[in-house]
Symmetry: C2
Subunit: 154 residues, 2 copies
DNA sequence: CCGATACACTTAACATGTTAATCATTCCAG
DNA sequence: CTGGAATGATTAACATGTTAAGTGTATCGG
């Protein structure tokens, strides 16, 4: 069997961890987890957004998002209201306090990202991202929701 | 600021999720989580191994590993004893029952891996893994353990 | 209208990620 | 030897990942 430490999932896991290890100390310093930061960052790119759409944007599952939004709201970093036309839907937006926090973290975050880019090479980084996107694309159809069966006959 | 959904951490996260989504149903069918599978797989590559080394091999933090080993031992999938020369160290190995489980899961797992490789292309996959390894390598020195400071002057 | 169904969350329950603290054992300077 | 530092592992505490179940609202056919 393939040496599992060289498998694709492990490669991806290690690479991501190597990257996130750079950011975590700064986020931690500002009292944010990686996921909370993702949500706030996502909220800066829109005026307001429904919870379901935010989940897709920040790549979080509903239950995780639900908990985190509760906490971020309690900390006054986001605001939430329900949609007028459909009371099932909740609309979330970042608060002034949340924006201020983003602005405090962003410079360090950008510097780290720049350092990574410089180390690895901007061109190489772009190529890597393209290949990762292609991988995602490749597997989009192989939905993979079967218990034991594997269907591979394309 | 960079569109965060196109950031490197997000690309890595999405790519890994796309891959793991393929494996999870099969693992779940066999009553294993991704991490439990990693541990059992790692144990098949050695006769016996100390907990600390296993953590590095399976890329898990100590506390997570500690909990999972407790559960795997309770299920009879692994065996544990303490090192003779140093009672602080614990030595772990896979049990016959654990091996049997591995053998039950492996065919499906291999088939899925083969399907992914075929879809994405074996050459491209190797190249991707090389680039991921290089990324890890790049960031190995940038240890990143400072609160707010960023030192980038290489 | 009404009841069944679908939808958008939210909660629940359990496993893991993450950092700090604890515990037992070993090592080592004096 | 011995007491303090170092080491290996576990436990604690809290946040998130993941699947299933629950809650309130909307929709739609009859």
């Amino acid at each position: 069997m393939r040496e599992f430490s060289r498998s694709l999932p492990m490669s991806l896991l290690r690479a991501r961890e190597a990257v996130m290890r750079q950011f975590r100390p700064s986020l931690r310093y500002h009292g944010l987890t990686e996921q909370q930061w993702r949500i706030l960052r996502a909220l800066t790119s829109v005026e307001a957004i429904e919870v379901t759409d935010l989940a897709r944007l920040a790549f979080l599952l509903g239950p995780s998002l639900s908990r985190i939004l509760r906490d971020l709201e309690a900390r006054g970093l986001i605001e939430r209201r329900s949609a007028e036309a459909d009371l099932r839907r909740a609309v979330v937006s970042i608060s002034p306090k949340g924006l201020k926090l983003i602005e405090a973290v962003a410079p360090t975050s950008e510097a780290i990202y720049a350092a990574i880019t410089k180390r690895y090479g901007a061109r190489k980084l772009a190529e890597l991202q393209a290949m990762l996107g292609a991988l995602e694309e490749s597997l989009a159809s192989l939905s993979g929701a079967e218990g034991e069966t594997v269907e591979v006959d394309e």
